[in-house]
Symmetry: C2
Subunit: 549 residues, 2 copies
C-alpha cells in the first residue's frame, strides 16, 4: 500500500527542502509546451474539454440523487455539464463512513495517494486549464498556470508541510525514570494520529483549484475525508480534481468517498447546511468577508481557515525608473481584470507629486503615466485578451459602473471584443474618500492624493490593519523611508513588495517561498502554507504501559 | 542582549532534543533535597514565605491603584497578603505599550529571558512550594514538585517548542527564477515574526503555576505581552512568577510590563472584561467547561487555548496483580483528594466480576479491594496528610456530601486532623446512573457495574468523546481486548494507561513526553505542548525587493 509513497518519496523530500530554503522551486512546469507536457498534450486537453461539454459528468460510485450544474463561460458559451448532486446529509454520511479507513491507512499511504493525485493532475494541466478558463474568465495562459501547475505547487506544499508535521514527533518511545537505587520505572509509549473529522473545502469562482488545493490536500493527507464545495459558477476544475482523487483512492483500496463533490445552484445553496453539520470539524474557505463572518458566527463546531478580502495598496513615494514602474503597475492592474486577491486597488501618491528619473512629476503626471502605460499594454487586441481575460461575475461590471459616476476618471474602462470583459478603470480621489476605504473587487483602481509619502504609507498600513490586505507595494528611493514602510506594513501584517519594475509583479505569490496571506490582518486567518495551516488538522493520542523486563 | 541566550543555549538544545525523543528528561530536580537545591534552600524558602505573609506584595513599577488579595490557606491561616491592583483598561494599556519593544527584541533575546526566568524560578522552588501548598491545599512534597520543577518543566517545554517553531523557516532567502535565455528574476525576501497581540493567562486554584506556565512562556517567547490573571484564591505562586519575570525583563532593558499581574476578588472579577478587550488576541485558560463556553461565546477576538474538565475513567477487565492494581488505584484516588484534572472518577467493573491472580472476584470483592487499599494507604496520619493534602474549595466538600446521599457507599469519606480535608468517597452505581455521567471534581469515585468489560470500555470511551476526558486507565490481561480498548480510547481522543501497578500513576503527566490533554475531545482544545500550542501565537510577514546585481 505504500508503493505510491515510495514512487514519490524523492519528490516529497525535495519539497520539504524547498519549504525550508524558500527559494525558487517547482516540479510542475508552468510553460504549456510540448517539451514539458508531451506532443499530444495540447490537442488531448482541447479534445477532452470538448468531450465534457453538454454531458453528464461521470463520478463513479459517487452519491447521486439528482443532477445540478449550469456553468456559463465568461467568454460566452454555456458548458452544459451536469454533476451528481445529493442532500448534504448524504454527503456527510458518506464522508463519515470513509473516515475510519482513511485514518487507519496511515501517514505514508495517505501522503502517497496525495502525491499521485497531484502527479495525475499535473499531466492533465491542459484540460484543467480549459476548465479554469471557461469558469473563471482567465485567459488560457493564465488559466493553465494558475489552475494547473501553480495550484499543484500549492497542493504539494500543503502535503509536504502536513507530512513534516505528522512525522515531527515519534510514534513510540521508551520512558525510563531513575528511582535512585531502586529499579527504574519504564513505560512504553505509543502515539496515534487522530484526524479532526470531516473537512469542507469551500471554493471561489476566480481561482477554483489554486485556492482549494491547499485545504483539500492538507486535510486529506492528515486523514480527514474532504467534501469539496465548489462555487456554482466554477465546478468543473474541482469536479475533475475530485474524480482523479477518487480514482487514486480506489486503486489503493481506500474509500473513494474520502473525497466528495458537493454541487449546488445559486438560490439553492447547501453550503450553510454543510458548514454547520456537527461532523464537520475543518472548513477551508475562500471568499467574501461577509460569508466568512457568517461562518465564524455559525460554524462554531469547526476550525476555520480563511482567505477573505481586503484592500491592497501601492505607495508611490519616488522612483528612479518611472517608465518601468508604470509598466509594472499597468500589468498588475490589468491582469485578469483586477480579479486577483493580490491585485492592487489603492495607489497612494503625494498631492505634491514625486521625484523620479524624469524629474519631479506632479500627481496628475504620475496618474497620467500609469494610465498611458495601461493603454500601451492593451493596444494590441490579442495581447489584451491574453492579459485581461474576462470578468467572472456580471456584478463586477455593475459595481465598476456605479463607481465610475462617483469621481474623477483618469482612465476609463472599456470592453474587449469577446466575452464579458473590462480594462482597468483609474480614478483619482482625495485621501479619506470613502470609495477607497473598502474593497472594490475587479478592474478598478483609485489614485489617492496624500499629504506626502509618509502619509500614504500610514494610510495604506492603517487600512490594511483595519480592513485587511494580502499585498502591498512601495516605490521609493529613500532607504530611511523604505525602512519606515517595512516597519509599518509588517506591523499591519501585509507582505510588501518594493520597487518591482521587471517581469515580476506584486500580484504573484510563489509556492514554497511566499507565505500567501499572513494571517495577521482581517484578509484571512490562514497562511499558505505555514505550520498552523496543518498542525490542528489532527491530534496525537497516546497509550502507555509498564515495561516489566 | 543575547547574553542570557548564550548562557542557556545548551539547555535549550537539550530541551529540543527531549521534545523529539519523548523519553524521560528534566533539568529541574523534583526531589526537594539540599543536594539538589543547596544547604540553605529549605530554610531560605520557609523564611521567605513567612516574610511575605501579612505584607504588601511588592511589584516594582507595576500599575497600581488599589490593593487586593484575601487568600486563605486550605490548611487554616489567612495569608494576609495584598497585591497591586488596577482597572483592566490600565493593564491592557500597559501591555500594549510594552508590545513594540518586546516584538523588536527578537527571538534570541526573548528566549534568553524566558530561560533565565525559569532558572530563577527553579532556584526558588521551596518558596514556590510553600506558596503553592497554602493556596492549593497540596501537601508540601506535591506542592514543591507540581508548583516548582514540574511546572518549570512545562514552561521550558513551551519555550523549546516556541523556539523551534520560530526558527523553523529562514528569516531571509534569495529567490531566483530562471527566464530561459534572459537573465533570471532575482528577489531578496525577508521575514519578520509578528506577535499576535496581548496575551491573557487565566489560572486555576489547584495548579496555579503548572497550568499557567505553558501559556505564559509560549506567549512571552513569541513576543506577546502577557497579563497573568490568577485565581483569586491562588495568587501568590503567580505573583512570585510575575515578579521574577519583570526583574529579568528590566535587567535586559525590556519593558517590565511585558508581564503583568491582574488581581481580582470573588464577586468583583475582572476576567470577563480582560478577556473581551479587542487588544487581547491570545487566551490561555484552565478551568470549568462553563466558563470555557462563555469565553468561546464572548471572547471572539482572541484565539483560545483551553484545558477544561471531563470525566476520567478506569476500566477493570482483568488483572494478574490484584493487590498491585488496588494499591495503584488507591493512590491515584487519594492523591490531592482527587483534585487533579487527571484523577480517575469512574471505575467500570463487570457486574459478573473479573478474573484475577486471586481467582475470579465478584464486583463487590473488587470494590472492597480498592476500598481496603485506600484504608491501608491512609492508615498512618502523617502519610495521609502527605498524600491527600487539603481541599482547595469548600464547595468541593458540599458536593461530596450531597452525592453521598444518592447511592450505595463502598468506602466513606472522612476528614484528617488538620485543615479542610477529605479522604476518597467510593460509591457503587449502575451503568447509566446520571451520577457518573458528569464530572464530580474532588474526592469522589464511582464504581460502575457494567454488562462486561467491553461494555465498560465502550461506555468509558463514549463518555470521554461526549463529555471530555484527560486520562483513561485499563487493567486487563486479554491482549485482544486491550487492542480494542486502545482503538476505542484513541478514537475518543484520550490518553490511555494500561496495567499500572507500581510507583507510576494514571494521574501523572510528564513534560517532554506525555502530550497533556490531546485537544481531541471536549476536555480542552490545547495540548501541552504540541506544535499547535505555539504556531499561531505569531505570524510571518515578508518584504521583498528585486536584486539588480
Amino acid at each position: 500500500m505504500t508503493d505510491l509513497f515510495s514512487r514519490h518519496s524523492a519528490l516529497l523530500e525535495r519539497a520539504v527542502t524547498a519549504l525550508h530554503e524558500r527559494s525558487y522551486w517547482t516540479p510542475y512546469p508552468e510553460v504549456p509546451s510540448s517539451k514539458n507536457y508531451g506532443e499530444t498534450a495540447k490537442a488531448d486537453g482541447e479534445a477532452a474539454f470538448a468531450a465534457l461539454q453538454g454531458q453528464l459528468f461521470q463520478l463513479a460510485g459517487h452519491p447521486e440523487s439528482s443532477r445540478r450544474g449550469a456553468e456559463v463561460s465568461p467568454f460566452g458559451p454555456e458548458l452544459g455539464i451536469t454533476y451528481p448532486a445529493c442532500e448534504p446529509a448524504t454527503l456527510i454520511a458518506a464522508a463519515k463512513n470513509a473516515a475510519p479507513a482513511l485514518a487507519a491507512a496511515g501517514i505514508e499511504s495517505r501522503v502517497g495517494v496525495c502525491l499521485e493525485i497531484l502527479h495525475r493532475l499535473n499531466r492533465m494541466s491542459f484540460l484543467i486549464g480549459h476548465a479554469t478558463q471557461h469558469t473563471t474568465g482567465q485567459a488560457f495562459a493564465m488559466a493553465f498556470q494558475a489552475g494547473g501547475p501553480h495550484a499543484q505547487d500549492r497542493g504539494l506544499e500543503a502535503v509536504a508541510m502536513a507530512w513534516e508535521e505528522m512525522i515531527r514527533f515519534p510514534t513510540e518511545a521508551r520512558w525510563e525514570k531513575p528511582q535512585g537505587k531502586a529499579a527504574p520505572i519504564i513505560l512504553e509509549k505509543h502515539w496515534t494520529l487522530v484526524p479532526a473529522g470531516v473537512a469542507l473545502t469551500i471554493g471561489c469562482n476566480t481561482f477554483p483549484t489554486w485556492n482549494s488545493y491547499p485545504g483539500l490536500f492538507a486535510s486529506l493527507a492528515t486523514g480527514n475525508p474532504v467534501i469539496v464545495k465548489p462555487h456554482p459558477a466554477a465546478i468543473l476544475p474541482m469536479a475533475l480534481t475530485v474524480r482523479v482523487a477518487r480514482e487514486v483512492l480506489a486503486e489503493e483500496g481506500l474509500p473513494m468517498d474520502a473525497v466528495l463533490l458537493a454541487v449546488d445552484a445559486p438560490g439553492a445553496e447547501i453550503t450553510t447546511e454543510l458548514a454547520t453539520d456537527p461532523a464537520v470539524k475543518l472548513i477551508d474557505y475562500t471568499g467574501s468577508n461577509q460569508f466568512g463572518g457568517w461562518l465564524r458566527e455559525n460554524a462554531r463546531q469547526a476550525q476555520l481557515f480563511t482567505e477573505e478580502a481586503g484592500v491592497n495598496s501601492v505607495v508611490i513615494a519616488a522612483t528612479d525608473d518611472f517608465d518601468g514602474m508604470c509598466a509594472n503597475l499597468a500589468f498588475s492592474l490589468s491582469l485578469y481584470s483586477g480579479q486577483m486577491c493580490t491585485a492592487p486597488q489603492n495607489i497612494y501618491i503625494s498631492v505634491d507629486g514625486i521625484d523620479t528619473d524624469k524629474g519631479h512629476l506632479s500627481f496628475d503626471s504620475v496618474a497620467d503615466g500609469i494610465g498611458k502605460a495601461i493603454d500601451a499594454l492593451l493596444d494590441d487586441p490579442a495581447r489584451t485578451a491574453g492579459v485581461c481575460g474576462a470578468v467572472a461575475n456580471p456584478a463586477t461590471l455593475a459595481r465598476r459602473d456605479s463607481i465610475r459616476a462617483r469621481g474623477r476618471v483618469i482612465r476609463n474602462s472599456g470592453a474587449l471584443a469577446e466575452g464579458r470583459t473590462a480594462t482597468p478603470l483609474l480614478m483619482a480621489v482625495d485621501a479619506g474618500d470613502a470609495l477607497a476605504e473598502s474593497e472594490c473587487f475587479g478592474p478598478v483602481a483609485f489614485l489617492v492624493a496624500t499629504k506626502d509619502a509618509d502619509d500614504g504609507i500610514g494610510r495604506a498600513a492603517d487600512l490594511a490593519a483595519r480592513k485587511g490586505a494580502i499585498t502591498a507595494a512601495l516605490y521609493d528611493t529613500d532607504e530611511d523611508r523604505i525602512g519606515r514602510a517595512i516597519a509599518a506594513f509588517t506591523a499591519a501584517g501585509v507582505n510588501l513588495s518594493i520597487n518591482l519594475t521587471g517581469n515580476i509583479f506584486v500580484n504573484q505569490s510563489a509556492a514554497f517561498s511566499d507565505f500567501h496571506v499572513t494571517g495577521a490582518n482581517p484578509a484571512g486567518n490562514a497562511s499558505l502554507t505555514d505550520t498552523a495551516f496543518v498542525a490542528t488538522r489532527f491530534r496525537r493520542v497516546m497509550w502507555r504501559r509498564t515495561v516489566t523486563s
